[in-house]
Amino acid sequence: MKVLVAVKRVVDYNVKVRVKPDNSGVDLANVKMSMNPFCEIAVEEAVRLKEKGVASEIVVVTVGPATAQEQLRTALALGADRAVLIEATEELNSLAIAKALKSVVDKEQPQLVILGKQAIDSDNNQTGQMLAALTGYAQGTFASKVELSGDKVNVTREIDGGLQTVALNLPAIVTTDLRLNEPRYASLPNIMKAKKKPLEVVKAQDLGISLTSTTKTLKVEAPATRSAGVKVKSVAELVEKLKNEAKVI
């Protein structure tokens, strides 16, 4: 079966971002960009399904700027077979991205679509659920285990109180949680081979879908800063301060 994996280019998770002085957004000039960590887990899961002989082909897709080709090449080096870039010049909201991804789902007809549960820049946690809504497919979000059997997929999900397992009819949408797997590193020969794998570029505005958004960002500010407090010398001093100064115990 065919597996579609959606990935996103985001600021690297180790970068401490800075808000622009004009409050128009976060300063991303000359900042290290990487594949969103949850998307890496999605790629890894697809590659493992292929290694088990469950998946026959892995198509990786992203919606974003031309530079997002780097992240598609990374996914190809990790084991995806071919890539699709839906090129968008401006930043799109989750719903527009879900609509763009649906156009790829309609064309490719995958049995399973794997996405990360959230991108670490916008922290929305929406796209997979929205794609499931648009396609009418079942959704297994925040997955920590994915097991395919026949025309169903059993997904163990991380929920507030623990774990929950649901059975979904295929085709289905799965979004990954951090504990689903440990992504591998791309080896140099695989990075070289990835350069020859097919990468198709489609313009978002040519898809015939509405990319307009019902939300707009008015401003982006730095959060209230928390200043460092005091270092105490002993446990007794700590307990005394918590009791009498902070009055929290």
């Binding site: 180790n14 401490k16 976060v26 909201n93 989750s94 719903l95 879900a98 959230q118 670490i120 922290d123 929305n124 946690n125 929406q126 659920q129 929205m130 499931a132 809504a133 648009l134 079942a138 959704q139 979000t141 999900r157 991380e158 929920i159 507030d160 109180g161 623990g162 774990l163 929950q164 397992t165 649901v166 059975a167 009819n169 289905a172 949680d177 504990r179 958004s213 019902t214 939300t215 960002t217 008015l218 401003k219 982006v220 500010e221 730095a222 959060p223 928390r226 460092a228 407090g229 005091v230 270092k231 105490v232 446990v235 007794a236 700590l238 307990v239 301060k241 918590l242 902070a246 929290v248």
Partner: protein, 309 residues
């Protein structure tokens, strides 16, 4: 226009996060209706009807809504949504699961995890793991929003006298089924609602050592949390994780033990009123946000701490 709040509930009880979400709805302004969807939810609907500020409770009691499978619950919410200006759900794993599905079916963007209401159409939400706060405005006919519970003080559980009305024509979509659940059992307060949280990180070294934190937590009446490192190392189950990808907490007192303070962890706890850091590495980033820091060996400090409180 009225606001529809989707209730969070578990084991026949209304969850606390619902109260914070009603509080957010009050800030927006308008009649507040609460939808309780599930199976055997009479007690939850009655509890919701007593919540201060709630004008009406809609009860959707059907096997199709058990475990709130999004494939079944989302069409139910969509069928009700047209009469409302806002649809709100707590940003729990449940709310995060079904609400974007609702938004897409309504063809509107969802606004995730708001922490403040500026006006009926303008909200604040954290992005980049809480390192920036975005102010966003929605022009959607129905504004679909998840609410971060720690951003709003809960409303009272008593004082309301709402009517309860049965709803729910939509039946199972038939594409998904609940199989099983494995819930962590604990006598301690729930992590996201606790007044005091004691969290352990990689410095705890193993799962057995968490007993020291449990002992301290029991003395303080606290919940116990963990960093991702502690969860990944198998010391504790994942539902104890605090951070960008785990739970967001904002207790009166947060005690971080053997936690370095990575960006992703701080995202989940830096709105705590008082932060205490106990770490042997005095350069650890956690000390930059801690109100009180104590440098030293946690295995000596924690038992002493327990003795003294």
């Amino acid at each position: 226009m009225a606001i529809l709040v989707i209730a969070e509930h578990e084991n026949g009880a209304l969850a606390g996060a619902t109260l914070n979400t009603v509080a957010a709805a009050q800030k927006i302004g308008g009649d507040i209706h609460v939808l309780v969807a599930g199976q055997g939810i009479d007690a939850v609907a009655q509890a919701a009807a007593k919540v201060a500020g709630v004008a009406k409770v809609l009860a959707a009691d059907d096997a199709a809504y058990a475990h709130q499978l999004p494939e079944n619950v989302a069409p139910l919410i969509v069928s009700l949504a047209s009469g409302y200006s806002h649809v709100l759900a707590p940003a729990t794993t449940n709310g995060k699961n079904f609400l974007p599905r609702v938004a897409a079916l309504l063809d509107v963007d969802q606004i995730s995890e708001i922490i403040a209401v500026e006006s009926a159409d303008t909200f604040k939400r954290p992005i980049y793991a809480g390192n920036a706060i975005a102010t966003v405005q929605s022009s959607a006919a129905v504004k679909v929003i998840t609410v971060r519970a720690t951003g709003f003080d809960p409303v009272a559980t008593e004082g309301g006298a709402a009517s309860v009305e049965a709803v729910g024509e939509v039946k199972s979509a038939g594409v998904s089924a609940f199989v099983s659940e494995e819930l962590a059992k604990s006598d301690r307060p729930e992590l996201t609602a606790a007044k005091i949280v004691v969290s352990g990180g990689r410095g705890m070294q193993n799962g057995d050592n968490f007993k020291h934190l449990y002992a301290l937590a029991d003395k303080l009446g606290a919940a116990v949390g963990a960093s991702r490192a502690a969860v990944d190392a198998g010391f504790v189950p994942n539902d104890m994780q605090v951070g960008q990808t785990g739970k967001i907490v904002a207790p009166q007192l947060y005690i971080a033990v053997g936690i370095s303070g990575a960006i992703q962890h701080l995202a989940g706890m830096k709105d705590s009123k008082v932060i205490v850091a106990i770490n042997k590495d005095e350069e650890a980033p956690i000390f930059q946000v801690a109100d009180y820091g104590l440098v030293g060996d946690l295995f000596e400090i924690i038992p002493q701490f327990e003795q003294l409180v």
